[in-house]
Assembly symmetry: C2
Homo-oligomer: 223 residues x 2
Amino acid sequence: MEKQSIEHTIGHEAAGDVTLDGRGTYDERLNHILASATDTFARLGYEKASMREVAKAAGVSLAGVYHYFDGKERILFLIQFRAFGSLLNNLREKLSGVEDAKKQLCVMIRAHLGYFAANMSALKVCSHELDSLSGAAYEDTRKIRHEYYELCRDIVDRVLNEYDVNGTMDRHVATMALFGTLNWLYRWYDPKRGPAVSTVARQIADQYLVGLVGAAMKQNETP
Amino acid sequence: MEKQSIEHTIGHEAAGDVTLDGRGTYDERLNHILASATDTFARLGYEKASMREVAKAAGVSLAGVYHYFDGKERILFLIQFRAFGSLLNNLREKLSGVEDAKKQLCVMIRAHLGYFAANMSALKVCSHELDSLSGAAYEDTRKIRHEYYELCRDIVDRVLNEYDVNGTMDRHVATMALFGTLNWLYRWYDPKRGPAVSTVARQIADQYLVGLVGAAMKQNETP
DNA sequence: CTTCTCCGATCGAACGTTCGTTCGGCTGGT
DNA sequence: ACCAGCCGAACGAACGTTCGATCGGAGAAG
């Protein structure tokens, strides 16, 4: 409980920076195992992926994994919490300075696809294993997911406030339609084989934005 | 292999129609267990749901489940194969007579949401456990899924052929954007609590169709 | 009509395997 | 001499699956 606190989540730089062994610092090896576990969870699914498989993929013994992590659930929590945190920070960063709501929406979609292309395994685990955590770990990831949701919904909201003067468009439905498109990416899109990230991002952003604005104006035509 | 053939998939009416016991025919009890298993898989996930849990939910013993099904994977296969088959038949039925591509797209989205509302657990299992099967069972479900995909992509194709004269819109991306929205429904939409099925279907159809056509025309403006 | 036989349906109990986790000890740098 | 890092081996629990026994109704035999 107290030992492996939330500090590990961000990546504590105070510990392990002196010496440990020839293959990197404590944090580097922890992150190496975490990255291997991310790939393993993405490949097999969280429940089907055993700790033995995680250990083998990371090149350490089974007990060696437990030297760095309290247990299997803790690994999944760290993967999700870090990924959602990075996703959120990355989005806020790229959103700074952009005022127009429609441009914000484009930036959001591009940022999401860019992060997806750079962290496919992590986002697959985030999309597919949303209910695999429980208790406090689930609550923590739910909170940060909700932050990401609110940020995106507020952008959708501002766009609709400009065009949907009658308020006939459901903000939640509109936002979840976009989330569906983005969270489903891991099922079909491989940036290494399919069209370029920028191409896909542009088409999705164009389609969604035009659809959002157009559907809103269409409903206002018939009062 | 030979014993539990594909016949069970459709529901063989030849057997068990004479007598079995007071609680229904063979097929009725098989379908009852299958329905319970669907709910259990949807609630816990396929890997986490144990056969003991399935048996308890169905009100039979653990060994009793194996009297009707070869094994756990066979249950998942039957759930997915039946659901995809019904989804496909239902769509083809409602599509007959409709010629306009844009209307076809609206019909498709309404049909999907209607089936979702009536079979939430089954579609959740279909969306979430796509990779849980292996071997021949996986291939069989993949084929029927591909049929559904091709049917929808052809509709998208016809819409784009009317407006995207330059062919700048990627048909696969456009189709998967829609599939993402639809397949993500199970994560957030509850017809019993949220807005009505017709309302959500109309908004999603409007948004997507306007976006598809609008984005295509927008790209043709700048040659 | 009664009796016997048989077989499908069902169950409790157990099988072997794999799971997440723990523990005691080895090792190499300080 | 010490201690963090790491490992082989083992733990109990839970898993999917199998097996042998039991039960009851349908049909054949008397």
